[in-house]
């Protein structure tokens, strides 16, 4: 069974792959938080409808729409999404209205849109699609478990056209809350330099990425989705290195087969040191390394942006200088491994390969 990624759609702090692959092209931000600028893409919906949508649903819909268009508008027989935080803004809005109006005469729309599955449900509604619809909400595993469910659907048979999405939004209030947990930089930083100028914490971000998965290649194929695995609660570097080697081995690969690793470096001293140590334990002879969080900031479903960047890189057969941080990937680019961790405690692995592999 092979799964092909035949369409992608992305809404992020970057304008698109062209700006990322053009030297000097990526957008840089100054501060402690990066938000997506409003995308220019046509939503295909009338303005009245758009105004009622929350920002998360609107941007999620745009990313899904871009993905479907990219894939030639196939009909999904499953819509599977992952979001670590879910509908943050709507939950805040409804909660604040409860305090403000003392539980009386509240606008219901933010409540209606407050669950994690609001985007997946709206996409289904706008497409008139009654198929399997699932939403994973487990922190840094949210997107990866949605991806795993997609693979499960293919294994079971019967569902061969899957719309897969991963997204999270950041708001001012959510930033304040999570800042109290020490997740973010205390001082503003230039985002493009955040990984090189290490300190405590990282820069908060957000993004929306969708993928169209099919059981056959098409004229729009980017890559193959080969594997995904999550590793729950271990801070032992050796155990994680061993788990990565085992993951590769389960797919018939050795560390030397990996063309480039996309690692979730985010400029946090402790976390970045951890990436380096774990990868050194896997790739004894070194491996070309790329990173992406300086383009988007960090968020729980950041693995979805990395998947998008890996798809683009494989299709273009080049890793842009704005992503590549060390080494020179040998042509052809066959396998990209994405490794992301949360707080050195939870880890995720995604393996994307050339469609011919």
């Amino acid at each position: 069974m092979k799964l092909f990624i035949n369409g992608t759609g992305n809404v992020s702090a970057q304008r698109g792959w062209d700006s990322i692959s053009d030297p000097g092209g990526p957008a840089g931000y100054s501060g402690r938080m990066i938000r997506c600028p409003e995308p220019e893409a046509d939503t295909g919906l009338d303005d009245k409808y758009i105004r009622r949508m929350s920002r998360m649903i609107r941007l999620g819909w745009i990313a899904a729409r871009l993905c479907l268009d990219d894939a030639g508008n196939p009909v999904p027989d499953a819509i599977i999404t992952g979001s670590g935080w879910g509908s943050v803004l709507d939950s805040e809005k409804f909660l604040l209205s409860i305090y403000k109006n003392n539980e009386n005469l509240l606008p219901p729309t933010p409540f209606i849109q407050s669950t994690h599955n609001a985007v997946g449900a709206q996409v289904a509604m706008l497409l008139g699609n009654c198929s399997y619809n699932m939403t994973y909400a487990h922190g840094i595993f949210a997107f990866e478990h949605a991806m795993l469910d997609a693979m499960l659907c293919f294994m079971e048979g019967g569902k061969n056209n899957i719309l897969l999405g991963g997204f999270d939004e950041i708001t001012d209030n959510q930033f304040i809350l999570t800042d109290r947990l020490g997740r973010w930089r205390k001082e503003p930083v230039q985002s493009l330099e955040m990984i090189d100028r290490k300190s405590k914490g990282t820069v908060a971000g957000e993004g929306y990425s969708f993928f169209f998965l099919q059981d056959h290649p098409s004229s729009t194929t980017y890559a193959r989705l080969t594997g995904v695995r999550t590793i729950y609660r271990t801070d032992n570097k050796d155990d994680v290195s061993v788990a990565i080697i085992k993951f590769l081995d389960d797919h018939g690969l050795k560390p030397g087969d990996i063309s480039c690793i996309f690692a979730g470096y985010n400029g946090d001293e402790r976390g970045d040191l951890y990436y380096g140590d774990v990868l050194a334990g896997v790739f004894r002879k070194g491996v070309p390394e790329a990173r992406w969080k300086h383009l988007t900031g960090d968020y729980l479903t950041a693995g979805a942006f990395a998947t998008w960047a890996a798809c683009q890189s494989i299709k273009a057969q080049t890793i842009p200088a704005s992503l590549l941080s060390s080494g020179h990937p040998q042509a052809p680019i066959r396998y990209i491994l994405i490794y992301n961790h949360f707080n050195c405690a939870h880890h995720s692995l995604i393996l994307i390969s050339h469609p011919d592999e």
């Binding site: 819509i79 670590g84 935080w85 879910g86 939950s91 409804f94 909660l95 409860i98 305090y99 003392n102 539980e103 009386n104 005469l105 509240l106 606008p107 219901p108 409540f111 209606i112 849109q113 407050s114 669950t115 994690h116 599955n117 609001a118 997946g120 449900a121 709206q122 289904a124 509604m125 497409l127 008139g128 699609n129 009654c130 198929s131 399997y132 619809n133 699932m134 939403t135 994973y136 909400a137 487990h138 922190g139 595993f141 949210a142 478990h145 469910d149 499960l152 294994m155 079971e156 209030n173 304040i176 809350l177 999570t178 109290r180 947990l181 999550t230 729950y232 609660r233 271990t234």
Partner: protein, 396 residues
Amino acid sequence: MDPVFITGMGVITSIGRNTEENLASLKAERTGIRMLSTIESVYRGILPAGEILFSDKELASLAEMKYADGLSRTSLLGMIAAREARVNANCMASDGNRTGFISGSTVGGMAATEKFYPDYLTNDSRNAWIDTNESRESTERIADLLGIRDFVSTINTACSSSANAIMTGARMIRAGMLDRVIAGGVDSLSMFTLNGFNTLMIYDKAPCRPFDDNRNGLNLGEGAAYLVLESEKSLAGRRPLCRLTGWGNSTDAHHQTALSPEGTGPFLAMQAALAVGGLNPSDISYLNVHGTATVNNDLAEGIGMRRLFGEDWPLFSSTKPFTGHLLGASGSVESVYSILSILNDTAWANLNFSTPMKELDKSPVARTRSGAGIRHVMTNSFGFGGNNTSLIFSVL
């Protein structure tokens, strides 16, 4: 197809702190719905709900946990039910079987968030609670208590969350990804959800009346339930309670909070569950309906049932007049009630019923009925966004 067995279950609701107490209340037709009395809300004394009357500190002692800041009501309810399930199944986390924990919740730690949110925004006094705002947080607390590490996940599809957690667990076992999964869900009562359903004008100020012509909305409740799902391999000779034979999910694609007048989503979910189980509609002996008692839900669900069953309906009832609508936990709690239905050969009462809906002309089981010859029980769970899930439990 490899069978999926249920070897244990645990539950806490307003009608009991464990399976045995819930069963006794079901048999005695004893409701847990009464006027709100402990939650901090202007609706205390005004709206009825299935409140669990234990304080968080009392729940901590039931969970055998030392009460501390950051230990949310959601985590505590989940711990009590999940631990009961594991003890009931008599399985250890460290027996070499690949074990997962999958939990569903609609609002996760909202009961804590809504108390402390103004502090979160302005000062550091409640920092120990901030992390409970993330839906994964209670899942991780429960998984850590059980010592489960091979796979840990959280699902949020609103009110079908825990049914979907059970379905995902079963699928992973059948695909050979895991040997054993503890799956279910939890939601604690919150001002957030009380106000949400009240502002949608679907909260009945009287005890709810599912599938009654005079129904006027739902009552909320709180609770948790988990099942232990196992493969034949991990059973290792232990006798299971029953099998999980069917599961199906579909979307209604009609409205964020209302089902289509054609009952499309419910029909497709029930049909898909039968297909997975290789069963016919006539095989279902009892259907534990979603039956929230909103005008829209019961009509759409009933029309979906008519499309599936024709005129020959199985026994059916909604147990929400016992517990209230448990949101993300309703699917797993009602799965426990479905399994109890099989084990006791009994269909549970649809309390407060008097007049059949004129559009359907079908009456639910009004009084608890034993000796019903129950072999296959279907349970429905529908959520916001038109997310519909059906599960089927079968005798061994």
